[in-house]
């Protein structure tokens, strides 16, 4: 069911009004402020049927979540510039519209390690999903099963991998944070492999640490809301750490220094496919291939790792050139639209991962919300494929895009041609 254009337009206007700088005007009437406040409430959707895009779920998620939990989801690093860059990076690439292709048969399927998926969308690993909705990872797994989407589970999952696999109906991919003690990493890898997981994503973009100021500022001061958070978190241990030795530091934050030599250690440990997650340069993509990885994930952890200020979509072209189709490339970070997915595929990605996008859906409406987010992104991608004449993922190529930076002639070329 598609919401009426009238209600959608009204919601957009109210959102624009709520964001207006006029709200800061000290002389604004209290009645105006009250009316705008009510309008902001009205602008929040009350069911998935009202959603037009992924951003509609973000609004509900923020409203539903404890501020500390929202801050964990929303945070970047330093001044959150990399999060912004991830979104802004997509504006660099424009679409070349070619609407007269025969799109009566549209094929969105892809192949990854011999498995066919009916969509190039991947559900990225995100920590502690029960913190966003009681359904947590199981709700996401049910949604992934219903929509036939590949799901990757975080080491920081709030549900054991065995239970997630059962809910999904097949083993999921597993994202690994290596432990300081190699023996402990080995235990986790063996457990995951015994659960049937076919692929391991070793996350490397947090090895240098991260400065998540937005999240840290949202933490309760002692005596203020602290009892609530302590009730939720104190004494709790992540299920994938069961039976493992304690480690100082949080998510990915151990003290051991890992290098490319550890790729071989991991590959010698398991039969699972090994992907390295957090590749952001051509050099590292080529090193990954040289060290025998089976795939890479071009990622800056959703802007939550380093303060590169560089969008993953802008890193992708050099990486795709270096990889030369030898191994699959998954891109994540900043995906919110079908056009974002299309651009990533056009620039060389084999598949595209979403993180916050589906967690917004989960936090808003549980499994139903995740399914709705997937439906919206799928629908948007189908539309842009039709509009650009790409009737299959294989036909989404670099020629489907224009890089705005390419349109600017260099001073050297214009001088040599005699142009002024």
């Amino acid at each position: 069911m598609v919401p009426s254009e009238t209600s959608a337009g009204r919601r957009r206007f109210l959102k624009l009004l709520a964001a207006s700088p006029l709200l800061a005007y000290p002389g604004l009437s209290p009645r105006w402020m009250e009316a705008i406040g009510r309008a902001q409430e009205d602008a929040v959707i009350s069911s998935v049927r009202e959603a037009l895009d992924v951003f509609d779920f973000e609004t509900v998620a923020r409203k539903n979540l404890l501020p500390e939990h929202w801050a964990y989801l929303a945070t970047g690093v330093d001044d959150d510039s990399t999060i912004r860059a991830n979104r802004e990076g997509f504006t660099r690439y424009q679409l070349r519209m070619r609407p007269l292709a025969d799109f009566s048969k549209l094929d969105m399927s892809i192949q990854l390690f011999g498995t066919k998926w009916n969509t190039p969308i991947v559900l990225c690993p995100v920590a502690s999903l029960k913190g966003f909705h009681t359904e947590g990872e199981k709700g996401v797994a049910r949604a992934a099963k219903a929509k036939g989407v590949l799901q990757a589970l975080s080491t920081m999952t709030s549900t054991p991998v065995e239970e997630v696999n059962k809910e999904r109906g097949e083993p999921v991919w597993y994202q690994l944070y290596a432990r300081d003690q190699w023996s402990e990493t080995l235990k986790m890898v063996k457990r995951v492999e015994a659960a049937g997981c076919p692929a391991l994503l070793w996350t490397v973009d947090l090895l240098g640490g991260s400065n998540r100021e937005t999240f840290r500022r949202a933490q309760p001061r002692e005596g203020v809301r602290a009892p609530l958070c302590k009730n939720c978190h104190e004494g709790l241990k992540k299920p994938m750490y069961a039976g493992l030795a304690e480690q100082a530091g949080g998510e990915g934050g151990g003290t051991t220094v890992f290098t490319w030599d550890d790729i071989k250690r991991l590959k010698d440990t398991t039969q699972m496919k090994l992907l390295v997650k957090g590749i952001q340069t051509r050099e590292d993509a080529e090193l990954a291939i040289a060290h025998g990885v089976d795939g890479i994930v071009v990622s800056n952890h959703g802007g939550r790792a380093g303060a590169s200020g560089r969008a993953t979509i802008e890193s992708l072209p050099e990486i795709a050139t270096g990889v030369g189709r030898r191994i699959p490339i998954i891109l994540d970070s900043g995906i919110r639209r079908g056009t974002d997915i299309f651009k990533a595929l056009a620039l060389g990605a084999t598949a595209v991962g979403i993180g916050r996008a589906y967690v917004f859906g989960l936090a808003a409406f549980g499994q139903e919300g995740v399914e709705a987010v997937l439906d919206i992104l799928r629908r948007e991608l189908q539309m842009v494929m039709r509009q650009t004449g790409a009737t299959s993922v294989a036909k989404i190529t670099r020629a489907s895009l224009v890089d705005r930076f390419d349109a600017i002639p260099s001073p050297a070329s214009s001088h040599s041609s005699g142009n002024r």
Binding site: L65, L66, F132, T134, L228, Q367
Partner: protein
């Protein structure tokens, strides 16, 4: 909070009733309900299974799957059938619903009106913990060779049923008063008019 969640589950039971406009009582498969709501920490949802009994009509307005219409629909959800993933929520739910005194949530449809080729609006009564309120539900009916699928949802304000949304942890966690109930069930189509179908 969780006790009130139970109430929500009851509400969900009510909505399933709409779907039970389908030909026969849903024992196999049982209609599936999902009650969902919010709190100051996170949103939540609890599934529930119920039993629906439908008495086909002899004339009235035919609906998809019921060529002679529907005389009445009754849905009963055992409080014990509400199955939140969190065990603590289940415990609080049963306490809040006073399961020992009121073991079931009951919905009875009193009348309905076709609103489209495959949609209907049903009026009825919902009884939770001894309190009865009128309820109006909207349902979409989709007949197929396997049966008739009934889908719909509605929202209820707990306070309208004299239910105070639960508060725990010295008031730091508060459950929202608005609960949403979704129903999705596949029921075999009616093959005869009149009588009681189970």
């Amino acid at each position: 909070m969780l006790a009130r969640v139970g109430v929500m589950a009851l509400l969900m039971a009510i909505f399933p009733a709409r779907f039970s406009i389908q030909a026969q009582s849903a024992r196999d498969p049982a209609p599936h309900f999902i009650i969902s709501g919010t709190s100051t920490v996170r949103a939540w949802s609890c599934p529930a299974q119920g039993v629906t009994k439908v008495i086909a009509g002899k004339s009235s307005q035919p609906v998809p799957g019921f060529p002679h219409g529907v005389q009445t629909v009754e849905v009963r959800i055992p409080v014990k059938a509400i199955a939140c993933e969190d065990a603590m929520m289940v415990e609080h739910l049963r306490d809040a619903l006073n399961e020992k005194t009121y073991p079931e949530i009951v919905y009875q449809m009193t009348e309905y009106t076709l609103t489209g080729a495959d949609t209907a609006q049903a009026n009825g009564k919902l009884t939770i913990t001894g309190v009865t309120k009128p309820i109006r539900l909207d349902v979409k009916l989709s007949p197929s060779s396997n049966g008739v699928r009934s889908v719909g949802e509605t929202s209820i304000d707990l306070t309208q049923f004299s239910i105070v949304p639960p508060v725990i942890w010295q008031g730091l966690l508060k459950v929202g008063k608005d609960v949403r109930i979704r129903f999705d069930a596949l029921l075999p189509p009616s093959e005869r008019a009149g009588g009681f179908h189970e």
